[in-house]
Amino acid sequence: MNWLNTIALLLVAYLAVFFESSCRGFRNLFGAQIDLLPALIAYAALSAGISTVALLATLGGLWFDSLSANPLGISVLPLFVVGLAIHYWRDLILRDQRYAQFLLGLAASALVPLFTLLSLFGAGAEPLIEWWSLWRWFVISVGGALFAPVFFCLFDRLNRAFSYQPLPETSFRPDREIKRGRVPHLDH
């Protein structure tokens, strides 16, 4: 396991939850706050092991719920289920393509709130649901989708900067080198 990558993911999740709680710009502009955790879990599912996905879903979900009126722990399972599904089918996903990253972020950001709402209803809570919630769902999904390629780009750069990069092999071979000039004669 690449611990640096895991720590970086957790750090960004921590900052993302803080950003969602303290930044009012998106909420005042679009009427909804975007959620960055689903896009982050999509990246983690494609780039890290299942233990990192589980850790990110657990800590990210608990952090999110601790600043929200959600019952503590309700966001964990939706995040993990989406991460697990992406991790399971990771070999079929073109992770380096921008449109694939966008669609992955879109799907994750659309599914996580749905699963969370289902969990909330299952737990007997009464969240604020109205017709305009569809608009909010759209904003959350598109916002998450736009941030997904940003996360991929950011973490890939971070990985390149901090991980060992093997030197590319050259075709040069010293035993096949052509030496110009006069070849010294051997005396018999």
Binding site: A32, L67, A69, P71, V76, F80, P127
Partner: protein
């Protein structure tokens, strides 16, 4: 077929979720406050940065603008002082009459200023965090307001911060009374409930108003004092439009809140 490590990870996550969700309410609230406490350094830093930005902005204000502001504030201060004298006289008279009638004495509200440090990251709740808590003698169910009117009530209290559920949240339904525009006489009573049909977070629904009540747009809506949480007479908002419901048995109205909940920065907590 899922791999073994998937089952293990799923089992562990499920175990953690079930344990946390089944904690007793008090322990869950304490754990929530403890986990949320991890964000305190960031909230503190954000507050300091905002203060610095405000101070930096003030240094660029011109001297003439500051003098004009000072002049305006002096005049406003004089006006408020004269109003305060009148209010104190009315308060004294009211206390005398209450004593004569044997009614319970009213005490002025002890207010505690607070700064809004965070909002609910989820889109299906309307709550905020403020920077006062147990150390400031804040308790659950205390009322939060601004000079414009009611903001909400406190639900969870930590050592140095509290969670406030705002007007318009599904967990903040309360009784109100509608006042006539002219003589402030009571027209009817109703319940404030979240709006099910508006993107505007400043609109809430007024429901269960008896049919035949003379509701009109513009009438003011204040707390009725029923229920024991919100004191009587706090401004909630004004009526925007009215519609009949249940074949005329009930009236419903949309109420525009007096406080702009989207731009809350400083609030007051009534410490009683």
């Amino acid at each position: 077929m899922l791999k073994r490590q998937y089952y293990i990870a799923f089992g562990l996550v499920l175990f953690v979720v079930l344990v946390v969700l089944n904690l007793p309410d008090q322990k869950a609230a304490r754990l929530k406050l403890a986990i949320g406490g991890l964000f305190l350094p960031l909230f503190g830093m954000a507050g300091s940065a905002q203060n610095l930005a405000d101070q930096a902005g003030k240094t660029f204000t011109s001297r003439s603008a500051l003098l004009a502001e000072l002049d305006r504030l002096r005049r406003e201060n004089q006006q408020l002082q004269s109003q305060l004298l009148q209010a104190q006289e009315a308060w004294r008279e009211n206390a005398q009459l209450r004593r004569a009638l044997g009614w319970q004495q009213r005490a002025p509200w002890p207010l505690k200023p607070a700064r809004v440090i965070g909002h609910d990251p989820a889109n299906w709740w309307r709550t905020i965090w403020i920077d006062v808590g147990r150390r400031d003698e804040v308790r659950a169910n205390m009322v939060v307001l601004t000079a414009d009117g009611l903001v909400g009530r406190i639900t969870d209290v930590g050592f140095d911060r509290s969670h406030v559920v705002l007007v318009g949240d599904p967990n903040c339904r309360f009784s109100v009374q509608i006042q006539q525009l002219t003589d402030k006489s009571i027209v009817a009573k109703g319940i404030i409930s979240p709006s099910a049909s508006s993107l505007d977070r400043l609109l809430v629904d007024l429901i269960f108003v008896p049919g035949g009540s003379l509701l009109k747009p513009g009438q003011s809506v204040v707390t009725s004092g029923d229920g024991g949480v919100f004191p009587k007479g706090l401004a909630v908002g004004h009526i925007v439009d009215v519609r009949t419901n249940d074949f005329g048995l009930n009236l419903e109205a949309r109420v525009k809140l007096a406080v702009n909940l989207n731009h809350l920065e400083h609030v007051w907590v009534i410490l009683q």
